[in-house]
Amino acid sequence: MRMELIQPFINAADAVFAESLQSPTKILDLSMDENTYRRKGVAALIAIKGDIEGRVILDLSPEVAMKVASHLAGEAVPSSDQVVRETVCELANMVIGNSVTLLNDQGFRFKVFPPEIHMNEEGLSGSADTEAMVIAIETPCGQAYLNISMHYLHRRRNERDSAAMSVD
């Protein structure tokens, strides 16, 4: 897995949590995972397809999500699955939005799919040939986990570049 594809997501997650919670965050741990991903809490999975392909999972416990929700709202928010789901989705959208902006401005073209929320007991499978990087982030509201599996799709990029050259 290429670090230059992973780094924008780590930087974005760090910045989104620090900025949203108005407090510094810390990257606690980085590890590689080749197995089916077992959620630690509520997970938002976002798929990316194009010049680069893969998926990013943001995973928070419901308790951490509720604390983030209250912080974002500026007041205590009554706990519910709906609030947890919406908070994890909004955080995932911010992390992905910030990271793909950087990758897009570097010239990569791809489609980002809306977040899928996973709250049930099933594991989240990755593709058979890709490993994932798991990053634990310490935030003032508790720990958050980012699981990233991303790779270049050279063929599509080459096809696009040759098509552009033939148009020129």
Binding site: S20, A73, G74, E90, G97, N98, V100, N104, V112
Partner: protein, 150 residues
Amino acid sequence: MQQFAALLRKDNQPVRYLVVDDSVFARKNIIKMIEMFGGEVAGEAGDGLTAIAEFNRTKPDIVLMDITMPQMEGIEAVERIVRQHPDARIVMVSSVGYQENILAALQKGAKHFVQKPVKPEVLYEILRYVLSDDPNAAGAPVAFAGEHRA
């Protein structure tokens, strides 16, 4: 907490905002900042279609509009609002800050763009800038937030 000088209209009334975002927490976060700037929430919407209806109903001074939303996306809503109200002042607020996204929004009539997570000081400066060419609103701050109602 940071303090900001209130952004007021020329008639010394609070600037009225329409906040459009499909996430209720994103809206609450923006509303918290609007209140820090001495503003008033004229309305809220969770999608582009509702935003158009709320704009017509509330006639806000400024719209803060998300891009990716269900039913109708923010850029299309901007186009429709500006077509009917060429003086509408709309600031896009989105996680996705691609150049092409920003350009599309500006071409449809948005006045500015701010990326999420929104920093209060960044939003404040953008609002000052956008209000500065509004004949009905005072771009220059005149009092600290909260003081103008005293």
